[in-house]
Symmetry: C2
Subunit: 218 residues, 2 copies
């Protein structure tokens, strides 16, 4: 059985690994978890001893197979509970995160099996994020160009085609980076331009831009 703190570290390191494809730095973890790097070092060393992740001083960390499984289990619970909150209790999808952050730490295999069944074995949570199965596997999702998306579709930025610094700086200015969730609000037929939502902002992007952003959809 893992503590609440341990589960949260594993979960967040898992997410960071997905986003940056590779080892995760101490500072990245600290920033994401709104804690201090020194605290991260301590916990990471502890988790390394427990074989949840591999760690070399001053180099980043990577989850072990076991660590990934634990993390995926927590994420599975989080997303299943979100489905429950939205589908059954009629919460709006943007109100459920905090509550699911608590519910994801309830320990009971049986509970999650039954909840999953009760909800109809959903594949995605209300935000469109995939729900890991009971073994921690997430259905591989396809990678598309943003330009292939239609109005109302959404996905997460997972990469860029064009890697010139001009383009990257352009994305940076609009707060688009790996892991950013993008929502297609509108798409012009005649020139392929789009109105997209990023966080709380909405703006236009050209067809050219849309053709250079890889998006992972459901």
């Amino acid at each position: 059985m893992y503590s609440l703190a341990e589960e949260n570290y594993l979960k967040n390191i898992y997410h960071l690994e997905q986003e940056s494809k590779g080892g995760v730095s101490t500072n990245a973890i600290a920033e994401r978890m709104e804690t201090k790097p020194s605290s991260v070092t301590d916990m990471v060393q502890k988790l390394a001893e427990k074989k949840m992740l591999s760690y070399k001083k001053y180099k980043g960390t990577t989850l072990t197979k076991n660590g990934k499984k634990i993390a995926a289990g927590v994420i599975r619970k989080h997303r299943l509970w979100e489905v429950f909150l939205v589908d059954k209790l009629k919460f709006h999808w943007d109100e459920v995160h905090e509550i699911a952050e608590q519910l994801e730490h309830i320990h009971s295999e049986e509970l999650i099996m039954r909840l999953d069944k009760y909800l109809g074995n959903p594949d995605f949570d209300p935000h469109g994020d995939p729900i890991p199965d009971q073994y921690g596997n997430i259905k591989p999702t396809e990678k598309k160009l943003l330009s292939e998306l239609e109005k109302k579709q959404r996905g997460v930025c997972v990469g860029v085609k064009e890697t010139g610094s001009e383009f990257l700086q352009y994305l940076d200015k609009r707060n688009i980076t790996i892991g950013t969730k993008i929502n297609v609000l509108g798409k012009e037929f005649f020139d392929g331009s789009m109105i997209i939502q990023v966080g709380r902002d909405q703006f236009f992007i050209s067809k050219k831009t849309a053709e250079n952003l890889y998006i992972q959809t459901n």
Copy 2:
């Protein structure tokens, strides 16, 4: 917001107060919570400072109005979650306690309001215990003689009519005391004798016995 430990202390002190009608001793709390009396003293002093209970050294403690409200809130959550687990997830009523012990500490007013509604505003949990309302009030339940109950009814022993030591020792031998839950499995019409369940034991009792035990039902 109260910590998990604080909520558990308040909840258990609340239950002990109900059972023994009056101040609760340090040892009683320690025994119930499977902890050491010295730990109890520490926590009780802390909760006293927070005005959750009143406490005088070497005398027992009693919850304040505020403390009772918090405790009733935790109990409300526990029992509502038990209803969810049994009614919706089809758990058996004797499998849900441990899980509800965890779920009772999820903090969200909105969640509980919606859960309550979703479950049809139940008045009792699957064990027949009353669910406090959102203000912490528990519907006053009537006190009957065990002899007035019918087959399949159940309740909690809340007192005795006959107080002779012979009778009390008789009850003691059968592990019946204040707070004991009694389940009427059968009742003979011609002589008023009953078969009752107490914990895991089942046995006969005479009409005379049944007429001297006060039972609180739903």
